[in-house]
Symmetry: C2
C-alpha cells in the first residue's frame, strides 16, 4: 500500500479516539509507534506468518519476564542513560561518576549498616576471591557526604543473583551501606563472575536470531543517593574480563573500570582476618547537586521487593 | 540527541551482529523497529519513567495473553488483510467473498459433519434466538465445490467463546461442516451477542488510555477451504448491531453483512422442529482458485487446540 493509503487507514483508526478520553500523551506515543509499525510492515513486506511469529515472541517475552533484559540487550537502556547525560550537560552538569544501566535485578529491602558491610554469606569463600571496595561519597565540590546511601548488589560465582536464584541465602550479595561521618563506605565480598542471559529464554532467542551473544562482563551494581543530590545509578567493571568492552547490554563506560590491586602483604591479610591474598578497589562516588528545571534521576520502574 | 548521534549509536549496536550469525531477515526487521523506537524516544522526549511503564505494559500483555487482541484492536490485523487484498488484486484476483480478521479465538479440532451441523448445545435456546445459515461454497466461476470445509465459530449470548470460557460445553458453537455433493452447507445455532475486550485486561487498558472503546458487534467466524483454492478467513456481521460499523477491531466489511430474515411461517417453523419464529441467512462463500507466484492465505499463527 502507498504511504497515502496507509496514512488514510491510520487516520480512520485514530478517528475512533475520543478527544477528551484517555491521555493525549499516550495517544501521541501509541500513534507514533503504530505509524512506524504500519510503515515497517509495508516497507519490509512483512508477511502474516512473520507478523504472528513476532506476536508469539512478544507473548513469550512477557511470560518469561524478560522485557527488562531485552531493553538492556537492544541498547535501549543505555540510550536512556546517554539522553540523561545530554540533558545534564545542557543544564551545565558535567563530570562526576558516570551513570550506567540499572538492569532488571535490583531487590529493595537489603540489610542496612553504617560504614561497612560484608555482602557475601561465606558460602563461596573457598572457591572465590575475596575483595574489598572502599572510598567516599562526595559532592560536586569534593566534599564528603556523611549518611549517603550506597546500595550495592552483584552476582555470585555462578553469575546468579540472590532472590531470583532461590538457592542463595536471602539478600546474599545485596546490602545498603550508609556512609560514616567522613563520607566513607567499605564492603567485603567475593569477586563476581560474568554471566549470560538465561538459556532458552526470550532474550537469548532474540540475540541469537540477530547473530549476537548475550554475555555480560563481571560487574557490581550501585545506587548512590543523598538528600539534595541527584541519585546515581551505576556499575563498576573489572579489568581483564573478556567481555569488558563487549557487554551485550552496552553498560561498560570509561571511568567505571577502577584499578584493582592484589594485597599480598601478610600483615594486611591478617588484619582482614584472611589467610590468602585479596583484591582491593578504591573508588569514590561523586554525586551532583539537585538542580531545578531538569528531570530527576529517581526512576520509577517495577522492581522486586523481598518480603523480610 | 541528534539523528547523527543516534545513528552512530545504532551502528555501534548493530556492529555486534555477526555477519553469518542469525537470520538476515530478522536483523533487517529488528534493526528497523529499533531505529524507529530510538527516534521515537528522542522525538517525543520519552522519559525513563514512561519507558518503564511501557515495559510493564508489554510484560503484562504477555502474561495476560492479549497480544492477539491488541493486534486486532490497533488495526494491525485489519491492515494485514488489506495488504493481502492488494496483493491479490495485483495478481488479477478480484471479487469473491471478502476476507476479514481471524481474531485470537479459533480452536482446532471441532466436530465434523457433512452438509449440516447444529452448533449450539441447547443451553441457550430459551433465552436466545435460533438462526439458520445456509448456502453454497463456489469457485471463481460460480461452480459449487463439494467437500469444501466450512469451519465456523462464534460467541454465546454472554459474548463468550467455548474453550476460553470453560463454563461452556466442549466445542459449543464450534463446528466443521463439509459441503455436500452440491456444494451446500447449512447450520443451526443461536444468534450470538457482541462483546467487549476482557475487563481489566491489557487491551482495555491500552484502548481506554487512548480514549477508545473495546466493543465488537456480534459476528460469526469462518475458515472456508477446498483443495486447489485459496483459504478464506472471514466473518459475517448482523444488521442493526450498534457497533456494526464501529468495531474496535475494524473487521466489518462491505459484503459481509448478509440479509437476515425472520421466518414466521407456521409450516416452516414446524418443519424445523421449533415453536417460534427463527432467523434465516442465505450466504454463499466464493473461493479463489490457487495461483502461483503470490503468498498463500494459509496463515501460521499460534492457535488453541482442544484435546478431545
Amino acid at each position: 500500500m502507498t504511504r497515502a493509503q496507509i496514512d488514510g487507514l491510520l487516520k480512520k483508526i485514530e478517528s475512533t479516539e475520543q478527544p477528551n478520553g484517555g491521555s493525549e500523551r499516550v495517544k501521541e506515543i501509541v500513534n507514533r509507534i503504530m505509524r512506524d509499525l504500519f510503515y515497517t510492515i509495508e516497507d519490509l513486506d512483512i508477511q502474516p506468518d512473520e507478523f504472528w511469529q513476532g506476536i508469539n515472541f512478544l507473548t513469550e517475552a512477557g511470560q518469561n519476564g524478560e522485557y527488562g533484559l531485552i531493553a538492556a540487550g537492544v541498547g535501549l537502556e543505555h540510550f536512556l542513560d546517554l539522553r540523561l547525560d545530554e540533558e545534564e550537560e545542557k543544564a551545565g552538569i558535567t563530570g562526576g561518576t558516570p551513570r550506567t544501566i540499572e538492569g532488571p535485578l535490583y531487590v529493595a529491602g537489603a540489610p542496612k549498616s553504617v560504614g561497612f558491610a560484608r555482602l557475601d554469606d561465606g558460602t563461596e569463600v573457598e572457591e572465590g576471591e575475596v575483595f574489598f571496595m572502599q572510598g567516599k561519597v562526595v559532592d560536586d565540590n569534593n566534599n564528603p557526604i556523611p549518611n549517603a546511601i550506597v546500595e550495592v548488589w552483584h552476582a555470585n560465582l555462578k553469575g546468579c543473583y540472590s532472590y531470583f536464584d532461590q538457592s542463595q541465602s536471602e539478600f546474599n550479595l545485596r546490602r545498603t551501606i550508609v556512609t560514616d561521618e567522613n563520607g566513607n563506605y567499605q564492603f567485603r565480598s567475593i569477586l563476581p563472575s560474568g554471566y549470560a542471559v538465561p538459556p532458552g529464554g526470550s532474550t537469548e532467542k532474540l540475540l541469537s536470531s540477530i547473530g549476537r551473544h548475550g554475555n555480560r562482563p563481571s560487574h557490581v551494581h550501585f545506587f548512590v543517593s543523598a538528600p539534595g543530590c541527584r541519585k546515581l545509578t551505576t556499575q563498576i567493571n573489572f579489568e581483564g574480563d573478556p567481555y569488558l568492552w563487549d557487554d551485550f547490554a552496552f553498560a561498560t563506560r570509561e571511568g567505571l573500570v577502577p584499578t584493582q590491586i592484589t594485597i599480598t602483604d601478610a600483615e594486611k591479610i591478617k588484619e582482614k582476618g584472611l589467610d590468602r591474598p585479596y583484591s582491593s578497589i578504591d573508588f569514590d562516588f561523586t554525586l551532583h547537586k539537585e538542580i531545578e528545571g531538569i528531570h530527576d534521576t529517581e526512576v520509577e520502574r517495577l522492581r522486586a521487593e523481598a518480603l523480610v
